[in-house]
Point group: C2
Chain length 233, copies 2
DNA sequence: CCGATTTGCGTACACCGTACGCACGACTGT
DNA sequence: ACAGTCGTGCGTACGGTGTACGCAAATCGG
């Protein structure tokens, strides 16, 4: 009605719905993304959205694929370590921009095109670097579990500033400092020096990448076949 | 009413509410845990629950602390590597028993007693093993991010059996096998050999623990103070 | 210009968390 | 044994949620 009465407003589109849904979830948190709020934001009625998305889960899948699309896609023939490092940092950045995506990333019944390409390229990067199949799977799981897990902790913890964090933790541990001395140490030390999530993430990422390099060296001399040379030849 | 009419039914308790909530969430999935369903399961009315838990978030916090309580608490003076290995595998096991907990683990405003003890012991294990403070924090983050991340992927992926997994993935990748050759390889190979999550998890865990051991050796000779020797003297 | 198809959306239903306040049972002090 | 207090159960109600259904208006193809 509002749409129709004022002449010809912009047509509703699947893409426009998804885009606005992401904006809404980013701005107001995942809970503020309701079909009703979304409709309001788009200047339409709730049920109008269902002409374009089927249901809310489908909308969420679409949103997740957009987030995948924001991540750096590693070059398959490239230097695996730096490519995967770039992938890792950009994945974390994307998940920080869209924290709601973390819990949804792997829940999609069928991966979208961006997701498929992303996973394919990452796997390809490892295989072409010489990782035997099993090791490539191991490496892949290790990297992704760490990345998602870090993003999960980083974004569910309600620390906005290091000061706030330390303050809250102090209250939390409270008078039980004697009971939990190591926890107390963390609170005190991190309160003094602050806490840089980026530095922390990249430290762990590098530890993992180094470990994978050793794994690769240990396994070198074994199989050498890749998906491309096997199926594409 | 139902409670009162049939003589003297079991009294409602905070513990009983939490316990039944966990059972419900385990059995029917997180979405099936509503105050109304929970009340039904306990044979009471929805509003009766609020005499014992305040609100739903408080209930969830309590549930999370129970899950923490199910994890192995590493011995602070013990052999750090095997202690943390046991902690890792038992943490994953607990998160597998209670998948709904994964997204809630870190969101609690104030950690419960089991959570506090768990974190304190884990940190203590690293510090007493000789990890300098910063490295202990790094190690802690690395281990937890991996553990939670792995559990996250493992439990949000809707694969119940390896066969089902392979079947679904085949449909997913579908005719685009040429477009995503590395993804196709994963589908084919994993379909053949199956996929053992436990083995996969422990492989990654060992890679991380080995990497941490090297980190520790590299940093040996630096600081040696711990929370106990510092504050307890 | 007219019929067909797509698009918008009003209404309605079943669910959710929970504020409020009443009534009943179980304890306490005499 | 009885009265007063208090903790507990819970009925009702409100404002939110996702979405099924079907009508009307706009757009498109001929």
């Amino acid at each position: 009605m509002a749409q129709r009465s004022r002449g010809k407003a912009i047509r509703l589109t699947r893409a426009r719905v998804v885009e606005e849904a992401i904006r809404l979830a980013d701005a107001g948190g995942f809970d503020s993304l309701s079909m009703r709020n979304l409709a309001d934001e788009l200047g339409t009625a709730p049920m109008s959205l269902y002409r374009h998305v089927g249901n809310k889960d489908e909308l969420l899948d679409e949103m997740v694929d957009v987030v995948f699309g924001e991540m750096y896609v590693p070059v398959v023939g490239g230097a695996w370590k730096s490519e995967l490092r770039k992938r890792g940092t950009s994945a974390r950045a994307a998940l920080n921009r869209h924290p709601w995506a973390i819990g949804l990333m792997e829940s999609s019944k069928s991966p979208g095109p961006a997701s498929a390409e992303h996973h394919n390229a990452t796997m390809g990067c490892l295989r072409e670097a010489g990782f035997p199949f099993k090791d490539a799977v191991h490496a892949y799981n290790l990297l992704d579990a760490y990345t998602y897990g870090f993003a999960l902790q980083e974004n569910t913890i309600p620390f906005d500033t290091p000061e706030e964090s330390a303050e809250m933790a102090k209250v939390t541990v409270g008078e039980r400092g004697d009971e939990f001395p190591y926890l107390a140490e963390v609170v005190v030390e991190l309160g003094k020096s602050g806490y840089d999530y980026t530095e922390e993430f990249e430290f762990g990422l590098d530890v993992i990448l180094d470990a994978l390099e050793r794994l690769k060296k240990r396994a070198s001399g074994s199989e050498r076949k890749t998906a491309l040379t096997t199926s594409g030849g």
